[in-house]
Symmetry: C2
Subunit: 361 residues, 2 copies
């Protein structure tokens, strides 16, 4: 899932995302909560209509971003008080507030409000944090079940049908559909705590489960251990979502290990810093060695950037701080990630055993 | 002509420019001279190949930009010594150097090296400056005539033909075509000096003529007077190019008065500052009044931005400093300018007398 923090994948217009074959975007509740505000998006009919995007959208709960505001937040049983990174204004997010916000934003998949345990954390802290996340998952689900019909597209379509004089009974509508709320497994770096978190989150019951609290500073090998051990405790017939991962190699490995969904800012953020992923490895396009290189960025890539422009031109755009550098670099990196996932899907369909496939990467 | 200063219209990819119907771009010799350097563009086969743009390109001579570096330049009969606005490095441009640079860049239309007379200027200064421009026009043409076959696409195509074993005699090629060098009329704000500049530039002989030295701080009415009086002295069967103009109203007026070509950074620069041109007048999209405005930016515009996004979304992107704001705003403003010119062409073809048409605007 490419990341569109503020209801936009930075620099890339929605028609280009469609051409790239993007099927689902992630957008950040914390950022949208501050700008343009949930109420504005709700009044505009929800995120899909606001940003003119007909494919799927997932919003995070805001929890991860709020916990990143180390010096600006205070956690209690009730929720998290925090100050905006933009203007220092005071806000509060709780499971109920995070659900209210995500229902107002109207993504297709929304996430329970969790506490992302810091790394490192001692055993007592990791357990307390995991237990808080379980209680918050329950509160998230309770609020969601009571309010899920308030999603803006449901209201909008009902109103349209009423004004068209058709009864809801006669025409089955999207207004009867609701968002999907996923639970999040925490538990720090302890496989046993992770197992317990998975079991207790499954007991609450969600249509999909995420593995959170990773990529918070731990070694890559530890991330991998925790992901693989946690996956075993999650139902394989429901979506399993690994949050905030990773490099092209990592997403291929994890997909083959059974992860169904991932999101990462890496392809888009790296692109804006001139770091490009290619079949021949990473290319730092700012380097002078590319100044007169007439070759395509990636000789076997069929994206619109590699098909049209040379490394020399991309290097010039980046070195000259041209806006188009960020646009073209982002398009290429997104294509590379999406093509990587298409390849992995083909491997899986062709019957490669996920575990063997993963260890071969 | 949209402006693509550094071989890129800021934020807009070449395929979108093609979709917009852009037929010719202006690029700036001064900026390309500094980054990536003429030699790099020449080795890459010239601007068209470097930026992957098959339609026409015009380069200015660098004169206007160098003269804008008020404190960093020194003018002599020979040319202009100046310091780079980027790093303070010393450079020199003369008619010969400006031709060499523009031949190396390989645009379709290139401009004689002129002195842009400052405003205000007394009679003696305006005459001396005009006479210098005439002498430089002669030197520009002399250098061009001697070196015009050095344009990189001519060399490239000759080499390709030779390597394909075909003789130049058998296959007529672009290598026999050369760039078109236009002369520039100066003369400050004195219609009589302008007439003399036009006559003497025509005597040197060019395939097209530009009116330079306007939009340098003089009142708009004076610009208009000088343009109209100068146009009378330029051959109407050759392209007449008014440099650095203007607002949508102005380009429509001047086109109907007989101007064939114009360039201006206004549509692209204003877009990046959130100022949008519409059929209902200018819109400053940053204003809070648009925060929940579901309407298209311009209700009668058929550009891809107005067809897809609301004012609320465009306002959000701009207020949140999203890259996509600059991209979409630029696409809309370029479309507005190009549509304005298409309308003017239709009026002209329909037989509206240019003078009457202009006075009705």
């Amino acid at each position: 899932m490419p990341v569109g923090t503020l209801a936009s994948v930075k620099g890339v217009s929605q028609d280009v995302l469609e051409d790239l074959g993007v099927e689902i975007l992630l957008s950040n509740t914390y950022h949208l909560f501050l700008r343009p505000g949930v109420e504005t998006v709700r009044r505009m009919g929800g995120l899909h209509r606001f940003m003119s995007w007909d494919c799927a959208i997932l919003t995070d709960s805001g929890g991860f971003q709020v916990f990143s505001l180390t010096d600006l937040r205070k956690v209690s049983e009730e929720g998290v008080a925090f100050r905006s990174h933009l203007d220092g204004s005071s806000h509060f997010l709780s499971p109920e507030k995070a659900m209210e916000a995500q229902i107002g934003l109207g993504a297709d998949i929304i996430m329970a409000f969790d506490e992302c345990t810091e790394y490192p954390a001692d055993a007592a802290r990791a357990r307390a944090s995991m237990e808080l996340t379980v209680r918050w998952a329950e509160r998230s689900k309770n609020y969601f079940e009571e309010h899920k019909h308030e999603v803006p597209w449901a209201l909008k379509e009902s109103a349209e049908l009423r004004s068209a004089g058709r009864s809801r009974a006669a025409v089955p509508t999207r207004s009867e559909a609701t968002q999907a709320l996923f639970g999040i497994v925490q538990g720090g770096m302890d496989p046993e705590l992770r197992r317990e978190s998975a079991d207790r989150t499954i007991d609450i019951g969600f249509p999909g489960y995420a593995i959170g609290g990773l990529s918070v500073g731990e070694p890559r090998e530890l991330t991998r251990e925790i992901v693989l051990s946690t996956l075993e405790h999650l139902p394989s017939d429901q979506p399993r979502y690994l949050m905030g991962v990773g490099t092209p190699d990592e997403i291929a490995q994890y997909a083959q290990s059974g992860v169904d969904m991932m999101d990462c800012v890496l392809p888009t953020r790296a692109a804006r810093h001139g770091l490009l992923f290619t079949s021949e490895g990473k290319v730092s396009i700012k380097q002078a060695r590319y100044a007169q290189d007439e070759n395509a960025l990636d000789p076997i890539c069929d994206c619109r950037v590699c098909q049209r422009y040379s490394r020399a031109y991309l290097r010039h755009l980046y070195a000259s701080n041209e806006l188009l550098a960020q646009v073209l670099n982002t398009v290429h990196n997104l294509h590379f990630y999406l093509a990587t996932m298409r390849t992995v899907r083909a491997w899986i369909r062709a019957g490669h055993a996920p575990a063997a496939g993963a260890s071969q990467m």
